[in-house]
């Protein structure tokens, strides 16, 4: 009995570890790059976007898994998109209602979570073949993996570009703002540097 428990715990941990680190959606699989570039110039926007993606990824995987035994193979992608789209629209409506300012700056990117390869990928590769709880964990872990990288990028872009963190002045007036960091080219520099940094932390045989 205890061995089964231990194995379960092990599988759970490895699912989480895989989503956040080993197969991190952004720096290992290089997915979700559009939004990683677009919504990372302010930490507040990135937080809202990450929360939206986390919720959608976890809930979509969970739902796809719940329905996996009743979903015919030939219409499974259609079903997955329908499920993902429903959650994304709910998230979009919630942000519009409670954070109208952030909704205006995020623009179409919340709606575009629907076509985010991270969520579709997890639904198709994992949730469709696994029970609901592991699927929920797997989706959530992918969401966390995405969020960690985006928040890391946004932290540096906002700090260096505006001298602020979450809108609070952190660097003194003497600091010359690196305006380029909050412009689109800054996103490319930071994303490239981030992927390079995280990949260099991996053992050499896994860097491929």
């Amino acid at each position: 009995m205890s061995t089964i428990k231990a194995i379960r715990k092990n599988v759970t941990l490895s699912t989480i570890r895989r989503g956040i680190w080993d197969e991190n959606p952004v720096f290992r699989q290089v997915l979700g790059i559009c939004s990683a570039l677009a919504v990372t110039n302010l930490l507040a926007n990135t937080l809202v976007m990450s929360a939206g993606l986390f919720f959608t990824a976890a809930m979509s995987s969970f739902t796809v898994s719940l329905l996996r035994k009743y979903t015919p193979r030939d219409v499974r992608i259609m079903a997955q998109v329908l499920i993902i789209a429903s959650y994304v629209i709910c998230v979009d409506l919630a942000i519009k209602a409670y954070y109208p300012e952030i909704s205006a700056t995020l623009g179409p990117y919340v709606g575009l979570i629907i076509t985010n390869c991270i969520i579709m990928g997890r639904c198709e590769a994992f949730a469709y073949h696994n029970p609901p709880i592991p699927a929920l964990l797997d989706g959530a872990a992918a969401g966390v993996g995405y969020s960690v990288v985006l928040l890391f990028i946004a932290f540096w872009r906002e700090l260096l570009g505006f001298g602020t963190l979450l809108g609070h002045q952190v660097l003194g007036d003497g600091f010359a703002r690196w305006t380029i960091m909050v412009m689109p080219p800054g996103a490319f520099f930071m994303l490239g540097l981030t992927v390079w940094l995280f990949r260099s932390l991996l053992p050499p045989e896994r860097r491929d």
């Binding site: 193979r73 079903a79 329908l82 409670y98 109208p100 623009g107």
Partner: protein, 207 residues
């Protein structure tokens, strides 16, 4: 799992009804909040055009709006009349819908009571390309209109240039977004030239 085509159709139809219903429910539930947010955002933009600092909290915004702005309607559509802190007339704000490259550009123009001094201009919504035409809603662009004289004897009171503005009636257009800029200029010039002929400035219509 392989089932008959009929099953697939039924499955998707049921799923669509269930999730469609759920989304509609959430939409109903949040509709009022979304609408409040939309109205607040629009009011902030009107105040911005008038050169009045819009407070961030919804209550303070509603109070300020109630105290200093009144919504009126004239023969050329709705407009706003605003007073300054002492209660004297500050100016009028006129909403407009200009053609953009991808879709309508909605905004508001505020004019002093003399009818030929621009108090300011702000953009409420647009669908232009982010980073290119979308820059028309940025402060550097909209702030240029503050205090500009409208010479209504000219068909084009403002001149949009793709360089540093020199003359008093020049405004810097958005480089790299010629379509958006020229459409916007083509709309706003006749609109501004026509403003001073409106009843409010002639002392005629709807007070």
């Amino acid at each position: 799992m392989n089932k008959s085509p009929l099953y697939s159709i039924l499955f998707i139809a049921l799923l669509a009804v269930f999730f469609g219903g759920a989304v509609s429910g959430v939409e109903q539930y949040t509709r009022e909040k979304v609408e409040q947010g939309r109205v607040a955002a629009q009011r902030s933009r009107v105040l911005e055009a008038l050169g009045i600092k819009a407070p961030e909290s919804p209550q303070a915004l509603a109070e300020l709006w109630g105290a200093r702005v009144s919504e009126k309607s004239g023969p050329s559509g709705e407009y706003y009349s605003a007073s300054d802190v002492e209660g004297a007339l500050k100016g009028y704000a006129f909403p407009f819908t200009a053609p953009g490259f991808w879709g309508p550009v909605r905004g508001v123009v505020a004019v002093a009571p003399d009818g030929n001094t621009l108090l300011g201009l702000s953009i409420i919504s647009h669908q232009e390309t982010p980073g290119l035409g979308g820059r028309i809603s940025e402060k550097w662009f909209t702030e240029q209109f503050r205090g500009k004289r409208i010479d209504s004897s000219k068909s084009a009171p403002l001149s949009f240039v793709y360089r540093e503005p020199v003359a008093a009636n020049e405004v810097e257009a958005v480089t790299g977004a010629t379509q958006t800029s020229s459409r916007f200029a083509g709309f706003i010039n006749p609109f501004l030239a026509d403003l001073s002929k409106r009843g409010v400035f002639a002392g005629g219509d709807a007070k």
